[in-house]
């Protein structure tokens, strides 16, 4: 081998030398990656073992703490100083506490929160919140909302308009979870449009994480952002707030197509009585998209005849809507057949 390399260095051309250097470089990098793969595996197994061991300790300790009132405050502190020394261990402890928090309610739940503070885990959470590193912030906000750490309100506020969707989602979750009433107050602080996904997310959080009284969604009808206005109409219809129908009606005349379409769709859901007349009168002048919305809600607000009368009103070139209509019609006929049978 030695001889071979010397041979090349002395007699070889430049191109061969370059090749040889590259070969060496590639082989070394390959070796580096192979060892990294093996190291990652080894590291992962080791880490899993550590996590498992600590989790067992934590779980034993927390169970005794919850169900076996034999622990003294000193024991609790001792556990902290022995087992929760570094960030890694503290993170695992937080995760474990969150599992208990999520699954338990009543007095045990309060005890879990107390434990979180006694172990001074709020310090780590606060540090992460202030860190400015998005994934740490996101995780810390999540922890704060699960454990209802209302003291961090101001810190979380600044993340409501961040570009990182993950962080923003956690911030939304936080404000809904910690609020006793008016869970959507945070929307006043929102300056960038809320995506459809975020709207679904807010709705879901409201259903699962919030237990106070359902707010009056009409407050949001005049928000600066169209997306929030759409969301508010949707929620009014979702929660059957019939008292807000009057406030939604003006949107039927909105210049923004999406607002108008939403108004038609959700007013139909709320069975607004004048809607059918509105549709009959304005159908011909509506855009194809709005027409589609109208066709889809006709059966809800009118009878069969009302529905069938619209067939002739769809322009012959508007195939998209004719197809939508035909689909609805065939489903409809099918249903009425199965009723008579």
């Amino acid at each position: 081998m030695q001889e071979f390399i010397e041979h090349i260095i002395q007699n070889g051309e430049l191109i061969l030398k370059i090749n040889l250097i590259f070969t060496l470089l590639f082989f070394l990098t390959t070796l580096f990656f192979i060892s990294s793969i093996l190291y990652l595996r080894y590291h992962k197994i080791l880490k899993e073992k550590k996590v498992k061991k600590l989790n067992e300790k934590l779980s034993n300790f927390i169970n005794i703490y919850l169900f076996d009132e034999s622990l003294s405050p000193k024991d609790i502190k001792n556990f902290q100083s022995q087992n929760l020394k570094n960030t890694f261990e503290q993170k695992i402890a937080i995760k474990a506490l969150l599992v208990f928090e999520e699954n338990l309610k009543g007095s045990t739940n309060t005890m879990i929160r107390d434990l979180f503070f006694t172990w001074e885990l709020d310090k780590l959470t606060e540090r992460d919140l202030k860190s400015g590193v998005w994934y740490k912030v996101a995780r810390a906000i999540y922890v704060s909302s699960e454990l209802r750490l209302i003291d961090f309100k101001e810190l979380v506020k600044s993340h409501l308009n961040t570009e990182r969707e993950e962080v923003r989602q956690q911030a939304i979750l936080y404000f809904i979870t910690i609020s006793e009433e008016q869970p959507l107050e945070f929307l006043d602080l929102i300056k960038t449009p809320i995506t459809l996904w975020e709207q679904i997310y807010i709705e879901e959080c409201l259903k699962t994480k919030y237990s106070g009284p359902i707010p009056d969604f009409s407050n949001l009808l005049h928000h600066n952002l169209t997306s929030v206005q759409l969301f508010s109409m949707k929620m009014i219809s979702e929660y059957n707030q019939f008292e807000n129908i009057e406030k939604m009606v003006p949107f039927l005349l909105s210049e923004k197509e999406e607002l108008k379409n939403a108004a038609i769709e959700y007013l139909a859901h709320l069975e607004y009585s004048e809607l059918l007349d509105y549709c009959k009168e304005t159908f011909n002048s509506q855009t194809p998209n709005t027409k589609k919305v109208i066709i889809k809600i006709l059966q809800r607000i009118g009878n069969t005849d009302d529905f069938l009368k619209f067939e002739s009103r769809i322009p012959a070139h508007d195939w998209m809507n004719l197809q939508v209509f035909n689909n609805l019609k065939s489903n409809y006929i099918e249903e009425s057949n199965s009723v008579t049978l």
Partner: protein
């Protein structure tokens, strides 16, 4: 000019090409790394919030063309019917199968013919009939029977006849994770720009244990051919698409699993039945159109392994598949040659299309020329054998480096192959792959170019062993 001068020039050219390729791959590796790291960070603290019950999620039409699939079609449809998503329809398009595909479906799902009226937004072969089930349990199943017209034509028919605004085009035999639709639709919703398409990562299903149409245990296939393709998929998805998605230069969403905005698809005229690379061609055309009309848009990419597909286990079938892919790439590049090096198309014109031209389409040809050149040298010159050895060493070491990097990314991110012995086996495969598998793939591509030149437009049917069959649990 003597033989040595030619040799010298050629050597420099090949070296230059090699350096360009290495640089390209290195950048791909860096971008992929960043993307994967972000992905990991997103997922390390909270499980995806379950929004599955929300009625606000848009309805999706899942389109699956079937051609002579009688062996598996029923099982595949059953698996599709159990996807976890609040509102979707399954549209199976029977593309004039010559076997009992349609009959099987009619009998199993108690189908009856339905009246249908439809407009050909995209012109297609004639539709013979539309079927729906009498059984309420299968109410979101629709079967379209049509004259044979190829995969693109079948998908276009599905687009004409499906009910919903978002369409998910899949291969009927691929196995989807149960939350696949949920994950793939997210980019459409979580975006302030219009999203025209989204795609995910495809994984190799061979030898995995499948129960009720779901992957329940990931195993490493015993055959070298399948393992080599696993490595290849790592490279293509973990290094290729991951990087392209970060650069917003994605040109291909696999036909096996992709989601599209129906309106945009119809606007650009649907899948092109005249190319065998219809999946790539469609996305390129959609992106081109959006750019030309100056509409800002996005293409989503979901790195989770959502779709598992059975790869060919026989050399001749693999050959046919790759032959087709090459022709697809070449045809797409030819159709959209105006985009090449055109700054108007930004990343697409200056990076993506040139990359596909040089690395995907030309690479096998240049490699082939290189081999011919080496043979020429062997015969007509008396170069020191050491020279060959060194050239070989540099190419080989680069090939394994690239694959190992891809494997490293897999280990760093998803770790689907859990057993340590799998890793060792995969490393082994990587060491042999450049010597056995790669030349074969190169040959298939060269052959593909040749066939294209000769004007052959044959589909290449793929034989399948059947999904449940390869390894059923107990």
């Amino acid at each position: 000019m003597n033989i040595y001068q030619i040799a010298e020039i050629a050597s420099w050219l090949f070296l230059f090409y090699g350096i360009i390729i290495s640089l390209g791959y290195s950048f791909a590796a860096i971008f992929s790394f960043l993307e994967i790291r972000d992905y990991k960070r997103k997922h390390n603290f909270q499980a995806e919030f379950t929004l599955l019950q929300s009625s606000s999620l848009p309805s999706i039409s899942v389109l699956a063309p079937a051609y002579n699939e009688e062996a598996n079609v029923v099982e595949n449809v059953r698996s599709l019917l159990t996807l976890n998503y609040p509102s979707y329809e399954i549209v199976i398009i029977n593309d004039g199968s010559k076997d009992g595909t349609l009959q099987q479906l009619i009998e199993t799902f108690d189908l009856e013919e339905k009246d249908f009226k439809y407009y050909q937004f995209i012109s297609t072969q004639k539709v013979r009939a539309v079927y729906k089930s009498r059984n309420k349990a299968y109410k979101n199943l629709k079967i379209i029977d049509k004259e044979n017209g190829g995969k693109a034509d079948a998908l276009n028919t599905g687009i004409n006849l499906c009910d919903h605004e978002i369409t998910c085009c899949i291969d009927v035999d691929c196995i989807l994770e149960s939350d696949a639709l949920m994950k793939l639709v997210k980019p459409f919703l979580n975006n302030t720009k219009k999203v025209i398409a989204s795609g995910g990562i495809i994984r190799v299903a061979n030898s995995c244990i499948i129960e009720d149409g779901r992957i329940i245990d990931v195993k490493l296939p015993d055959t070298f051919l399948a393992r080599a393709q696993i490595i290849e998929y790592f490279r293509a998805f973990l290094m290729g698409r991951m990087a392209w998605s970060r650069l917003d230069g994605l040109l291909l969403i696999s036909g096996a699993f992709g989601m599209f905005d129906k309106e945009t698809v119809i606007k650009v005229g649907g899948y092109n039945p005249d190319t065998v690379g219809e999946d790539m061609e469609l996305l390129v055309r959609m992106r081109r159109k959006m750019r030309e009309e100056k509409i800002s848009y996005n293409v989503g990419f979901v790195p989770d392994p959502l779709c598992w597909t059975e790869v060919p286990q026989k050399w001749h079938i693999l050959h046919r598949q790759r032959n087709r892919w090459t022709r697809g790439t070449a045809e797409t590049l030819w159709i959209h040659r105006k985009m090449l090096f055109n700054p108007k198309y930004k990343v697409l014109g200056m990076l993506s299309t040139p990359y596909w031209l040089f690395f995907e389409w030309l690479a096998p040809l240049i490699e082939f020329l290189g081999i011919l050149y080496v043979i020429y040298l062997l015969i007509f010159s008396n170069l020191n054998p050491l020279v060959y050895l060194i050239f070989f060493a540099v190419v080989y070491s680069f090939a394994i480096l690239f694959s190992i990097t891809a494997l490293f990314f897999e280990e760093f991110s998803f770790q689907q192959y859990k057993k340590p012995k799998y890793i060792i086996k995969l490393i082994g495969t990587i060491l042999i792959e450049p010597l056995v598998y790669h030349p074969f793939i190169m040959w298939a591509s060269v052959k593909g170019n040749w066939d294209l030149y000769k004007g052959k437009k044959n589909w290449g049917t793929m034989q399948r062993t059947g999904l449940g069959n390869p390894q059923k649990k107990k």
